[in-house]
């Protein structure tokens, strides 16, 4: 190995160089072998440990002429003919020990430096033969994808679309066979969960089983893609990345109103808004000509940053932290790049400098805020979009001012000070305040406000002061807005603003965006991305398992006009997706993660889907779309209730059973059933969730109030809707609601035997029976209800119910 050769005998090499230099002839005409004699030994001994194949610090490699000429973060290391312009010379001659190379080593001697200078002045001739092997290729992710040719495969009849050819070619290379197609039940449940986040109804299931037409499945896919619940399901991973929440985070974690942004996301996905437009509107909708209310609402994406309103906080620092978060989030969501690393120093592994980070931040620098007051009274007022007509806006302001006046009147008046007269006044004031609040609420229901981005108008291109080691107080050089040097350039004369940045992100030549997005969506379907590290496409991220498939999908996505519905249609109609997830244990052991895709996906559902599925099975689910967040019941002593100045005002009626998407997302105390199933707090951007397995999950699904209500709901359906009233008929009906399939014989036996056992228990325990039956609305015989209740709890907790198969 070359790298090992390079390392052998650093000191021997030095000694030899020293000897050779004594006989060096200075700046004579170029002589053959000079590089090998005078320069290469120095580079090898002193430089390539840190600037070579093992570790290209500062993105510089000195083991090839091309890379030396190209240079790293500090510029071209070698400029042929111009030693004075070569960073290499500058750094080996530097007086500053922080800059002088080799770092932590003895400085080069004068004759050594002279030899290198002379070699550069002579044109830096570097014979091919001197560098073994090929020069390093740029990292794959930073080179635009080229549409690959579809590979030829042997088992051609398996291939339904190009995705399959790529998958099968890999399987055949590994001498593996794809799994059998999934059963119709399994397939329908899988695709329903994937596209709308809900299991199929029995009617949908029966219709699909009856439909023997050629395109029965394709019709189902079209139905699901057209469902308004599609947008709800696909909003969820997007909102993780966008760190959408209904509270500010930090100490007080107060409520904020930004759910119109959440509804915008759902609507845009349902409309199949092309992803480039989807991007531009969220990053810079306000800068579009004649921006609509919807386009401005979309910019809420970057108002999802946390906000610390604790007294004593430095507001400017808070605003700065929001800017930093905007850069890190943009890089994670679109570029699959861990740019946050470059906040403090040049990225250790990827070609992003600290300057790149702050140059991107400069695009966000003008995002507006108004500072009022001084010292600890300072507040930041950032822009809020009020979509109401002007007279309604004025009315709302008037009402709020009146309520505030009463508020301060109440504050001045300590309760119980002056007997009952004052209490009466107090009561009146409180009543009036409530009236005013109700009026404001009524307006807000019709015209909800939402947080948006706006730029301060600036004459100059935005600049930002770099922060040394990322420390807010350590200001460094001013940096002008720019995109990272390693990626495609900005259009020459485009204004340096967020709109330009947004267009740059979705430019077809961007090597990252399309790949990152198709990969993330792929992971939603298969449980694992083609690049397993969904948020890191850098050199330390995972290598793609199917690089050509990834590039096919990325180029296809753009050719499809950035249509995610078209992309999803292609994925779910592939044979790869339609494989059965059942496999023998040998196959599991061989490929536990299913990297090779020799079977269908099988993994635990996400937190939200578990709730929604449970409610759907039990018949309780409210399918209402959009609107303000809801507050389903949670235990009295949950931290949500007793932390901070906040009221978890439990929702009533159907709002208790809304989809998880609409549950009030409180950052510091997330609704426990979501938290326990790995939903992120959304303090910051998350791409790719964890999937853990804990007893707290079991306790949640057995004992949570909603879980118990769902079991009651399922029993009501068992008793009233099962096609036959015998125990086996009811058991099969309930099992099918949960898993979409009929139970096998053993399974059915187990359920009916358990029901009989449960029934005997309840017959002997009148109190239990009464308590269970009275707790839930029911008709019919209480013993029967209570007996089925225990069984229903089992069925709602099966691994299969909680998994996508």
């Amino acid at each position: 190995m070359r790298s090992h050769d390079l390392r052998r005998g650093r000191w021997t090499a030095l000694a030899v160089v020293g000897l050779l230099l004594l006989t060096s002839t200075g700046d004579a005409a170029e002589e053959p072998g000079r590089f090998q004699r005078d320069v290469e030994p120095l580079l090898t001994a002193l430089c390539v440990d840190c600037h070579g194949p093992e570790d290209a610090q500062g993105q510089l490699r000195l083991d090839f002429r091309s890379t030396a000429l190209q240079g790293g973060f500090s510029g071209p290391a070698v400029v042929p003919g111009q030693p004075e312009a070569s960073v290499l010379i500058e750094r080996i001659k530097s007086e500053d020990p922080e800059l002088r190379m080799p770092l932590d080593g003895e400085p080069l001697s004068a004759p050594q430096i002279a030899a290198i200078e002379s070699w550069i002045r002579q044109g830096a001739v570097w014979p091919e033969s001197a560098s073994a092997g090929a020069p390093p290729e740029p990292h794959w992710a930073y080179v635009s994808p080229v549409r690959p040719t579809t590979p030829t495969v042997q088992q051609t009849d398996w291939v339904r679309n190009p995705i399959d050819a790529f998958v099968l070619a890999r399987l055949e290379r590994e001498e593996l066979k794809p799994a059998a197609p999934a059963s119709k039940e399994q397939l329908l449940r899988r695709v329903s969960l994937d596209l709308i986040g809900l299991p199929p109804t029995l009617a949908e299931l029966d219709a699909f089983l009856r439909d023997s037409s050629e395109d029965a499945y394709e019709k189902v896919v079209d139905r699901l893609l057209a469902s308004p619940h599609y947008g709800e399901r696909w909003a969820q991973p997007w909102l993780d990345g966008a760190r959408y929440a209904d509270s500010n985070g930090f100490t007080n974690d107060r409520r904020r109103t930004i759910w119109p942004y959440r509804d915008w996301v759902v609507q845009a996905i349902n409309d199949d808004m092309p992803f480039d437009q989807f991007t531009i509107e969220q990053l810079a909708g306000d800068l579009l000509p004649d921006a609509t209310i919807e386009q401005r609402t979309a910019t809420g994406l970057h108002r999802n940053t946390r906000y610390n309103d604790e007294t004593g906080v430095d507001r400017d620092e808070g605003r700065w932290n929001a800017l930093v978060d905007r850069v890190a989030t943009t890089a994670s969501v679109w570029l699959g790049t861990t740019l946050a690393c470059a906040q403090c120093h040049n990225h250790k592994h990827d070609p992003f400098s600290q300057k790149d980070f702050y140059a991107l931040l400069a695009f966000f620098e003008p995002t507006d805020y108004t500072k009022i007051g001084e010292g600890f009274e300072t507040e930041l007022i950032e822009p809020v979009l009020d979509p109401a007509p002007p007279e309604v806006q004025a009315k709302r302001r008037e009402l709020l001012a009146a309520a505030e006046a009463i508020e301060s009147q109440l504050d001045r008046q300590s309760p119980g000070d002056n007997g009952s007269d004052s209490d009466d006044v107090r009561d009146q004031l409180e009543a009036r305040r409530q009236e005013l609040r109700d009026e404001v609420d009524a307006i807000s229901r019709e015209y909800p406000t939402t947080l948006v981005l706006e730029d301060r108008p600036t004459e100059q291109p935005p600049t930002t002061e770099l922060r040394i080691r990322g420390s807010y107080l350590a200001k460094g050089a001013a940096v002008q807005a720019a995109t990272p040097a390693v990626l495609h350039p900005l259009p020459a004369d485009a204004p340096l603003n967020r709109l330009t940045l947004a267009r740059w992100i979705v430019a077809p030549e961007n090597p990252l965006t399309a790949r990152v997005i198709v990969n993330r969506d792929w992971a939603q379907f298969f449980g694992r991305g083609l690049v397993a590290t969904e948020g890191d496409f850098g050199t330390r991220g995972a290598k793609p398992t199917h690089p050509e498939l990834l590039d096919y999908l990325a180029t296809e996505f753009i050719q499809l006009g950035w249509s995610r519905k078209s992309l999803h249609r292609q994925i779910v109609t592939s044979a790869a997706y339609r494989q059965s997830s059942l496999a023998d244990s040998a196959k599991w052991k061989q490929d536990p993660e299913n990297r090779l895709l020799a079977r269908g996906p099988r993994f635990r559902l996400d937190a939200e889907v578990i709730r929604d599925t449970t409610l759907a099975i039990s018949g309780l689910l409210s399918r209402q779309l959009g609107g303000p967040p809801v507050f389903p019941p949670q235990p009295e002593l949950s931290a949500l209730k007793d932390h901070g100045d906040f009221d978890w005002d439990e929702s009533e009626g159907a709002d208790r059973y809304r989809r998880a998407l609409y549950i009030f997302w409180r950052r510091t105390a997330l609704y426990p059933p979501l938290k326990n199933f790995d939903a992120p707090t959304r303090d910051t951007c998350t791409v790719g969730r964890q999937r853990s397995n804990t007893p707290l999950q079991s306790l949640t699904l057995l004992n949570d109030a909603t879980a118990a209500e769902a079991a009651g709901g399922l029993v009501r359906r068992i008793v009233t809707e099962a096609p036959t009233a015998d125990v086996a008929g009811r058991a099969a009906f309930a099992f099918r609601l949960c898993t979409a399939r009929f139970p096998g014989e053993d399974e059915l036996d187990a359920i009916t035997a358990t029901y009989e056992r449960s029934l005997r228990l309840m017959q002997d325990d009148a109190e239990s029976t009464a308590r269970i039956a009275n707790e839930h609305p029911h008709s019919g015989e209480p013993t029967e209800f209570a007996a089925w209740f225990l069984v229903a709890q089992s069925l709602l907790n099966l691994d299969e119910t909680l998994s996508k198969e």
């Binding site: 004593g312 991220g541 105390a669 096998g744 325990d765």
Partner: protein, 484 residues
């Protein structure tokens, strides 16, 4: 098939596979497998995750961390400053104020000598405030660090920093890191338990014991003295243990059949989780029942049945440690003495806070010692930052004494296994403003606690967002002077 491989803090096998080779904290697995060995299970020969040894032999097995929310005043409790008293009411030197940011102080504040006396105790001659008589009585058994410093000066961020080594949020807390690294000795209880005095959450809320980017399995679990001790612990209305067993038996039967049909090892883990959940439904109420403690013990702590006091929680902490819970954290609010009113006054509230905590903290140490648990347990007492040696001048002419937040120097004490006893580490300047000797950063504190637990803080890592994260970020040194 239903191997108890899966502990409370277990993460899924597939999750492990995802991480392998990418800087996974290897201790976690090593301990899972050791635990498995201990209970007589054979580790699977086909398991690609072979057992690995821990970093080095631990000095302690447990940590009880008494978190004093609000920022207890070091110059009034653990770091006496005669010069500060001598220069009481003089303007603070300008040199201290230049370029400084304060939460509330503005202009040139006056120095404020402590209104409380200090006295020397034990052979070590440790000086502590007269407000802490019980602590004084064990002066020779504790180590005081007077040179802590942190990066944050607002409560929420500073509490998160003290727990997670970072204020930005989204990082795991120390308890989560240790649970991830070491697992739990008790299969029927969570490995990381949190208790709150009076059910008052710290300013930063449950983020203080959050799992951050680690799987949810490693989150701190809050135990409540009233109502349901753990969320969702009680079965639904009318479901008795026999009924619950009916439900669980069917879950198990059907899951086993599905395991056979699909081959997915994940199902075995799910089966184990349900069984553990069932055991928790019994073991946690047993744990919470303080009535089986002797009256003498209850009296020693100042505990009262049914209370939600710090004293009760200290007693509970001992019971948890006895049962093999490795990381117990108590939160006690009210140390934010700004001097705005009686409730934040150094003359009224500070003595009250000391009275609420001093006896029970010390009783905890004595009790652990009596039961032979102190050698294997570290008790840590401290807040998220200290307080300024200057009076806070927010309310001009107020009648109360208070101090502003101060991240540059503050004090903590420790007792228990692995540390030198009867010593003081670090020194602040004559006013108690800056550390002048042996500074101990929050990262150093974390590195030291991990070290005592047998963990090299540079090696306990987790790869996410493109890099290996650790509790101590890129810093932290073990405080060697503290080690026995």
């Amino acid at each position: 098939m239903s191997s108890p491989l899966v502990l409370l803090q277990d993460q899924t096998r597939r999750h492990f596979f995802r991480r392998t080779g990418l800087g996974i904290g290897t201790l976690a697995l090593a301990n899972l497998l050791q635990q498995e060995g201990k209970t007589g299970e054979t580790s699977r020969p086909d398991d690609p995750l072979a057992a690995r040894s821990t970093h080095f032999a631990p000095k302690i097995k447990n940590v009880i961390y008494l978190f004093m929310c609000g920022g207890p005043s070091q110059v009034d409790l653990l770091d006496p400053k005669p010069q500060l008293t001598a220069r009481n009411q003089q303007p603070a030197p300008r040199s201290l104020l230049e370029g400084e940011r304060f939460a509330f102080i503005s202009g040139v504040p006056q120095l404020l000598g402590s209104p409380h006396a200090f006295s020397r105790h034990g052979e070590s001659g440790l000086e502590v405030s007269s407000l802490l008589p019980h602590l004084g009585s064990i002066a020779d058994e504790i180590a005081v660090i007077r040179s802590l410093h942190t990066e944050e000066f607002n409560h929420g961020p500073a509490q998160i920093y003290m727990n997670a080594g970072d204020a930005r949020g989204g990082r795991p807390s120390m308890g989560s890191w240790l649970t991830y690294g070491l697992g739990s000795e008790n299969r029927d209880l969570p490995g990381f338990v949190v208790l709150l005095s009076g059910n008052a959450t710290p300013d930063a809320g449950p983020s203080c014991w959050g799992n951050g980017f680690l799987p949810a399995s490693y989150q701190g679990v809050q135990l409540r003295p009233q109502g349901e001790p753990v969320l969702y612990l009680s079965s639904p209305e009318g479901v008795r243990p026999e009924g619950r067993r009916v439900t669980l038996d069917l879950i198990r039967q059907l899951n086993e059949q599905r395991l056979a049909a699909t081959g997915d090892p994940e199902i075995a883990a799910r089966i184990a989780s349900y069984e553990l959940a069932f055991r928790m439904q019994t073991s946690v109420p047993d744990l919470m029942n303080l009535a089986d403690e002797s009256e003498a013990t209850q009296r020693m702590y100042g505990a009262e049945l049914g209370a939600t006091s710090f004293a009760n929680n200290c007693l509970m902490a001992r019971r948890l440690v006895e049962r093999g819970v490795r990381f117990v954290q108590l939160y006690h609010r009210g140390w934010d003495h700004h001097g705005l009113d009686e409730g934040s006054d150094l003359l009224h509230s500070l003595p009250q806070m000391c009275a609420e905590t001093d006896q029970a903290s010390v009783a905890l140490i004595r009790d652990l010692k009596d039961r032979g648990l102190l050698d294997s347990t570290l008790v840590v007492w401290g807040g998220e930052f200290g307080r300024t040696p200057m009076i806070e001048n927010r309310e001009k002419g107020a009648n109360f004494l208070g101090r502003d937040h101060h991240p540059r120097a503050f004090s903590m004490w420790m007792a228990g296994g692995g540390i030198r006893q009867g010593i003081t580490i670090g020194r602040t300047d004559e006013l108690g403003y800056n550390v002048v000797e042996d500074p101990v950063h929050v990262h150093d504190l974390h590195a030291t606690i991990l070290h005592l637990m047998g963990v090299d803080h540079t090696q306990l890592t987790y790869r996410t967002q493109g890099r290996d994260f650790r509790l101590t970020d890129v810093a932290g040194h073990v405080v060697e002077k503290l080690l026995a």
